[in-house]
Amino acid sequence: MEFVILTLVKAALWAVIILTTLAYLQWVERKVIAHIQLRLGPSRVGPHGLLQPLADVIKLLTKEDLTPPQANKLLFVFAPFFSVALALLPVAVLPFGPEVEIFGIRTAIQLTDLDIGVLFLLAISSLSVYGIALAGWSSNSKYALLGGLRASAQMVSYELPMALAVASPLLLSNTLSLQELVITQSGYYAGWIPQWNFFKLPAPQVISYLVFLMAAFAETNRIPFDLPEAENELVAGFHTEYSSLKFASFFMAEYANMITSCAFATVLFLGGYLPLWPAEKGSDLFPTALFLAGGAIAMYHGLHPARPRDRRTLPAVALLFWFLAFLFQVPRLKQILIPMFWFGFKTGFLLFVFMWVRGTLPRFRYDQLMAFTWKFLFPVAMLNMLATGLLVALYGG
Amino acid sequence: MHLWLIPAFPLAGFLLLGLAGRRMSQRLINTVAVGSVLLSFLWVLRTLSALGTLEQPHLESYFTWIQSGALRAGFDLMVDRLTAVMMLVVTGVGLLIHIYSIGYMAHEGGYYRFFAFLNLFMFFMLTLVMAANFLLMFVGWEGVGLCSYLLIGFYFHRKSATTAGNKAFIVNRIGDVGFTLAILLVFIHFQSLDFQTVFASLATNPAGVTTAALTAIGLLLLVGATGKSAQIPLYVWLPDAMEGPTPVSALIHAATMVTAGVYMVARCAPIYLQAPLALEAVAWVGLATAFFSATIGLAQNDIKKVFAYSTVSQLGYMFLGLGAGAFSAGIFHLVTHAFFKALLFLGAGSVIHALGGEQDLRNMGGLRKHIPVTFFTILCAAVAIAGVPPFSGFHSKDAILIAAYHHSPLMFWIGVITAGLTAFYVFRAVFLAFFGSYRGQAHPHESPKVMTLPLAALALLSIGGGYFDVPRWLHPLFPAAEEAHEPWLVYVSVAAGLIGILAAYGLYVARPGLAGQIADRLGALYRLVYNKYFVDEIYDRAVVRPVVDGSQTVLWRGVDVGLIDGAVNGIGSWARGTGAVLRLVQSGNIRSYAAWVVWGSLVALLGFVAAGGLR
């Protein structure tokens, strides 16, 4: 019984966290892109546009929800929610942290630790095609249909290199459970270099890490692989006909997929919630220091006479940061927060890479896209896996 | 000792010419063709000089060709004194004829083809004579048959040539059946096909092998020999074979191949000695053929036909000798005959060449002024065949006749008459061709050196060839014919020859036209002889027509159409009928198939239940 309650609590907790992250990830992305393009980005709604996501949500909710007359009603409604559900499902198995003790209850920070967690994630991601494909088909419009076709073809094709790229670190860690996967990556070479699968001897997984990232770009239909929604060819691709909340759910689904795949990459290659360097070498102090510094910077800019508009907001932010920095030193919370910090830190970095790429690279042509996966990515992943297997067999994983 | 090289050289030549000849220059073709034969001739000389006196046969076995139960047929070559003689004749005469052909065929189409076949023939002929067992010998036997077929039909654009080729081939088949059966009998009775084992077991004691069996073998072999060596009743193919180019007639149909039968009988002498009846048959067949074809030769006007019939009759002589028990004499005559008959044919070829293809004696005459070399050479040959001392033919024919006399005087007398006839018709041809006044239109011209030199060589051989004492050389192989030598026999035979010559002179040189009157005088007989006793027609009526008609009516209309086609069509229509029924099930509608599947599985399951699967 207690198990059920605990699970419900955790689920609720994570739901809130993830959803807010989703909303603000959108804001962050717009900011990042803006600064890459030397713009300010959202800055009207609230200080530094901090309330922009809220405004977006309201806008989307209040928009008219129209359904094309010839569309297949059932599927048209079913598709977006299916995809968002699938996008959020992986959160259930992501290991944000180790087993911890709160109020005398020992439990894992993650919702549940499946023996076949990796397979579970792969299964979910393989299912996530349907949302888009069905959306494209059911809205009964040529743009949407083409978008859906492209999306499904592209995602099916990129499944293979992704699966192969996932398989090779598994050869090193020799488990399918995500929690154990993280644990096998603990430890350091020469006291400093972490034994993540990215560095792990005898077969560092650099190649498969890159392959995985590229495949992830395609899986989440992000630039440079966002052909399914190539506006200059297909208006808006598979969600051309969607509006209002259904559109919003596709939107959420995309960002959720981004987060989950980045988290997955973190777990597979970057040692999940493990710190960047050993705790005894003071990695625990890093979050605190980071937030203190951030607070200091914010305070400096807030009190700077040249920036009258930020006189109130930035100091508030600074105080918030300092409070967080303090939280990271509370002994009871420390054990929970620090792993989560590291997890978030790495995932956030990968997310930043996603945005960075979006701001930098142009869009592929469709045949280039397919040729890329079948003629380059897939063979490379295959060879890498073979090499890994050989090395592990020779020098013992 | 590498005996295999001897046949290998011509084979290589054949392969070279056959595969690449089309692209070779004529000079290169000559080099290859003649060179290969020359090489094997030299190799024969080297081998024989190395082997010395050949007291014992020299055997070389290279690989087992067929191994099945008791039957072992190996690719084994053997050289004994008989083989030695044959090898020398084949390669020597063959070489000369090859050289001659260079000139004779110079302007013919299919030059490389001709020489390729000629080389192939040399290969098979040598295989035949050097074979150490019956089967290999049979291979050579068939091979030479094939080559003769190919070469008779060399001018395949001429209908007559192709038909002649077919005739030769088919008639030979009949003989070959006999030979095959003989081989089978030999294997049945001796459990082996190697000459040496067979003859050895005969020499020790014909254990279990009855005289009857040996006689049967001998007669069957004789059938084969009659086929290949153109004896009664299978001689009819040889005259037609003259359709082939003259060198072919000389090499294959005078000197070598047609003597294969003689060689074979001589080779099988041990068998014949155990089967007197068969030997007697050989003698009589030979004698009959000799006389019979000699008479035909009297009235022929085609120069090559004349010589063809004389070949037949000379072969008859050889068989007579063999049959009379004088194997060595037969072989001796084979050798000398190879010389002078080849010479005759080559001379005839030279004449024909000179006259631009004219073969009819009636359109010749007075040629001795135009082509003296040819004339003298042919004269040598004619004298030799007429049995005038001291020319080669005299010695061999003499030996045969003496043996015949000791065998039975009747044979001797017939032989003598035949000799006279031979002399007569040969000289008839000579006189008609070279004396009197020229009756043709073409402008005769002497043949080139390349042709006349072989003629000269052969002329020398036919003059002096009689002094190779072949009988002594062969003595260890064959029991000697009685040496009791009554001189008058010799005088008689020589006299017959001279009478023949004089008669011919009288009829065709001194008093031309007299021949015509005589012919008119006994018209019916003349016509009978002129038409070769209508043998071809008789065969046509008796054998060919029935076979053809029978195949047309019975085999074709009856068996083929009625039975075989009927069966095939019947099966076809039956299949169509059943198909028409089954088609109703094969609707092509997948779902009905599925329905059938369900139904079938239901039946299966019911069967399972019924079989008590539930308990």
């Binding site: - | 092509g588 779902r591 599925a594 329905a595």
Partner: protein, 102 residues
């Protein structure tokens, strides 16, 4: 009555199989027919797994695995064939594709 008899799984599999056959017989769209075949395969897989549970051996799982692999191959080829048929006949009606010659 608080745990499921194994035979129920088998019966479920039989029912699914039967439904698959029924669909095969009933439907006229090639693709649907093909999907019915897949349904039958799934049903069989279920009984494989059930037997494997009963025998406490994983061989059944392996059979199911192989069935899936074969099904994948079959789907690839089958769908390619369907594409070709559609190109040549411009129809997916299975009853209209009953002529034996191409």
């Amino acid at each position: 009555m608080h745990s499921v008899p194994l035979s129920w799984y088998l019966i479920l599999s039989a029912v699914l199989f039967g439904l698959g056959v029924a669909g095969f017989l009933l439907r006229r769209n090639i693709i649907t027919v093909f999907m019915c075949i897949e349904l039958m395969l799934n049903a069989v897989n279920l009984s494989f797994v059930a037997f494997s549970y009963q025998l406490k051996q994983i061989d059944g799982h392996l059979y199911a695995f192989f069935v899936m692999v074969v099904a994948a191959a079959e789907a690839a080829v089958g769908l390619a064939i369907i594409l070709t048929v559609f190109k040549n006949r411009a129809t997916l009606q299975i009853d209209e594709v009953d002529s034996m010659k191409g």
